[in-house]
């Protein structure tokens, strides 16, 4: 079984930014199924690892650690980049 240890004390779970996600998407999405476009891993969006201390927020895959979702806040609104997600499935 593959398991990488992302050994970073600043790392959080995507659940920690559920409020921002809900603000951008309009609904609660941490229970959505998310498929990583890089390695194909599927899991609840809330399992993604979150880095929130930069100018934007980055959510990474728990298996391959590639970026699945990221966004930046700008004066004219948030820009959400979902290219690392093959799909999001409401549940």
């Amino acid at each position: 079984m593959t398991r990488i240890v992302l050994d970073d004390p600043l790392m959080l779970d995507a659940n920690a930014v559920a409020g921002e996600l809900q603000e951008m998407m309009g609904v609660e999405v941490t229970t959505f199924l998310a498929r990583c476009a890089h390695c194909g891993n599927r899991g609840e969006l809330g399992t993604l690892r979150a880095w929130t201390h930069g100018p934007g927020v980055v959510l990474r895959c728990v298996i391959c650690s590639e970026v699945v979702i990221r966004w930046v806040r700008r004066p004219d609104g948030a820009r959400l980049d979902l290219r690392g997600a093959a799909f999001l499935q409401p549940r």
Binding site: P9, L10, M11, L12, N15, A18, G26, V27, T31, L45
Partner: protein
Amino acid sequence: MVEPLRWQIGTVTAIQPQTPRVSSFTLALPDWRPHRPGQHYDVRLTAADGYQAQRSYSIASAADRAGEVELGVERIADGEVSPYFHEVLVEGDQVELRGPIGGYFVWEPGMGGPLLLVGGGSGVVPLMAMLRARRAAADPTPAALLYSSRQIDDVIYREELQRLASEPNGPAVFHTLTREQPSGWDGFARRIDGPMLTEVLDRLGGIGSGPSAYICGPTLLVENAAAALTDLGLAPALIRTERFGPTT
């Protein structure tokens, strides 16, 4: 029709110190919504110059307290928000917040189990909401809590946990004190590890019972506990985590 999540102004109605570093803040909300155990609220402070600091705080209260919510807030010495709660806020003050938020780190009566709760420090707060909801609903799901603190004075909800554990159908409650133990201490006295989790799991019928695990606390504690459970054979899909970030 889904109501959008909006910032609202809550009023502090009670402040109850739990430990030297953690207090419970009860806030009355004009737009209160029932929450699910494990959810949190975002709190936002705005300085005179417009600078904003935002943090998330777990809900401790069971969902039956309409109109108000109890948040557990640990004082982080160099924090931007928690020192304001602990040093400035008094009853009657107002705070901007939004919630309840999150569906991933949620357990509520009817979701089944067995329920394995692992908490470190103030990470016990959302787990307490789950135990309170379980009790309120007289939910029969077997439950166990493993709770890591530095020392006995840092244990939040100590008496309530003792009371819960002594009730019929109450959860099994295990404490570990990692830094200092009082004389005669009969709980664990080390960081959470595999053998400790095995002992706790024995109360739930072992790893083979397929427990739903909820782990909340400082990032490294969560990481270690989740890895230990995976090594014991628990499927990663049964492990839910909520990392608080670094400890101070």
